[in-house]
């Protein structure tokens, strides 16, 4: 498994959201330039899994998304946040309003 989510971006529209699976996993949202704005997860209590979680962001500031179906959604989510901090020195913009209580260091 690759450390970073480096799949191509998909435009965040109502049509593309319908094609997202309802499984558990992690996702990233970005602006037009591909700058990651948010790292999220679809956990065990998410209604409609990734589709439900990513769909909530349609119409917001993010315009693109990519995801990874992953049963280890909690640890993978933390890993992606840790990698983002290691790469950029800070949490993604939209994660800063509700930061994780604890986040490890990687590098």
């Amino acid at each position: 498994m690759r450390l970073r989510l480096d799949k191509p971006w998909t435009p965040l529209t109502d049509e593309t959201v319908k094609r997202i699976p309802g499984q558990l996993g992690v996702y990233e949202l970005a602006d037009e330039s591909g700058r990651v704005l948010y790292v999220g997860m679809a956990g065990g209590r998410s209604l409609f899994g990734l589709r439900g979680e990513i769909g909530q962001h349609a119409g917001g500031t993010a315009t693109q998304f990519r995801y990874e179906v992953n049963m280890q959604y909690l640890t993978r989510h933390q890993e992606l946040l840790m990698l983002h901090v290691a790469d950029t020195g800070e949490l993604p913009e939209l994660n800063r309003t509700n930061p994780p209580a604890r986040l490890g260091r990687i590098g």
Binding site: M1, L3, G43, G44, R45, M71, Q72, Y73, L74, T75, R76, Q78, E79, M82, A101, R102, L103, G104, R105, I106, G107
Partner: protein, 388 residues
């Protein structure tokens, strides 16, 4: 040998049972089913509650401000504390505290000031770094991380894997080979600060235990001052080995608690669920599964309490601890497997905790020494010869 709980132990067990039922289980309704942490406000509130009950710190000696509860009572408490969704690996989400890296109680005064006391006050966190990519079951031979003396420092190079909490820790207890010619007598234990140059958390290691990850570490010319040697040079294996033996008893107890809860759920469900006009409890196939569960549970419980009793009396307990660990981890896996079978489709959903326990219990047959190593330990003691 009388392994029946005393009146005081029964009272403590009942108190912990109520705490789990009234304080922990309701909070889990709002958490992700794989969560391993409470929101900080709930955690702090419950820690205060446990302090007021006089239980905080469990195995911390009285001299260090803890209640130093005896190991038999702690075992009984551990069986209760694990009886919730996250209970196997984070019993009561850690609000009962504990000694953690107990090796630090053997540290010198200066090391205690820098590491032990801040840890007990909750100001610092540590990790235990033993297992390496070359193996974890036989640390005496598998440790390849080297420590070479250079002036007043030791220079460490090597890697560790399956290390919990290193990415959030302030320091770690790390084992390295200081004399390659002396096998288990050539290993030294170091206290390593995680902000020292050359200390790297290379990656997160994802496992079946989706709630919490392990890490892979790399040491590149990591300079550790001699004052950070824990114990004596070349005597580190004894420190690691002592921890491994002691850890097996609570490790077994946690498995029993989860299995006990699964059994209670199974019995309750079997009395409600009807198939072909009969409740499941009336089916012989179901009755036999429940009976087999009970045999597994009682066997595990008695072996684990017997090991704790022997440890409490100060007698050698290595074989008893290995037997308890082996039987409890394997038996609890069978219990939860049967519980899932009785619950049918619901058993494998995240609506119930059974699927999480099923995944996490599989790791317990490997962690703290796999079943095969436990058998090896017992065979050594029974036959009397070392298998070198």
């Amino acid at each position: 040998m009388d392994l029946e709980p005393t009146d005081e132990q029964r009272m403590i067990v009942e108190t912990v049972r109520r705490f789990v039922r009234d304080e922990i289980v309701p909070l889990e309704a709002d958490l992700d089913p794989d969560a391993s942490a409470l929101v900080p406000e709930d955690h702090e509130r419950l820690v205060e509650k446990v302090r007021s009950m006089g239980f905080y710190g469990l195995d911390i000696p009285v001299a260090y401000g803890g209640p130093d509860i005896d190991i038999v009572t702690r075992t009984l408490m551990a069986i209760e504390m694990s009886q919730h969704r996250a209970g196997l690996y984070t019993p009561c989400y850690g609000v009962f505290g504990g000694a953690g890296l107990a090796q630090l109680f053997e540290a010198n005064d200066e090391q205690k000031d820098r590491y032990l006391y801040p840890t007990l006050r909750g100001e610092k966190k540590g990790f235990f770094g033993l297992t390496e990519p070359s193996g974890g079951s036989d640390p005496a031979r598998a440790i390849e991380t080297s420590a070479v003396k250079d002036g007043d420092d030791w220079v460490l190079n090597g890697a560790k894997i399956f290390i919990s909490g290193a990415d959030m820790a302030d320091y770690g207890i790390v084992f390295a080979r200081t004399d390659p010619s002396r096998g288990r007598d050539g290993i030294t234990c170091f206290i390593v600060d995680t902000d020292m140059p050359g200390f790297h958390v290379r990656r997160v290691v994802h496992t079946l235990r989706s709630t919490s990850y392990a890490t892979e570490l790399q040491f590149e010319d990591l300079r550790v001052p001699s004052k950070n040697v824990l114990g004596e040079v070349n005597r580190g294996f004894a420190i690691a080995n002592d921890r491994l033996s002691r850890q097996r008893i609570p490790y077994a107890a946690g498995c029993i608690g989860v299995a006990q809860k699964a059994q209670e759920m199974t019995i309750a469900y079997s009395k409600q669920r009807e198939t072909f006009g009969e409740v499941l409890a009336n089916r012989q196939s179901i009755q036999w599964m429940i009976v087999d569960n009970e045999i597994d549970l009682r066997t595990s419980r008695w072996l684990t309490l017997a090991a704790a009793d022997k440890a409490e009396r100060g007698e050698p307990f290595r074989t008893e601890a290995a037997m308890a660990k082996l039987v409890a981890t394997e038996a609890s896996g069978r219990v939860v497997d049967r519980a899932i079978q009785v619950h049918g489709g619901y058993g494998v959903t995240k609506d119930l905790p059974l699927e999480r326990w099923y995944r996490e219990l599989r790791i317990r047959r490997i962690g703290e020494g796999p079943s095969e190593v436990q058998r090896l330990i017992m065979a050594r003691d029974l036959i009397g010869g070392a298998f070198h």
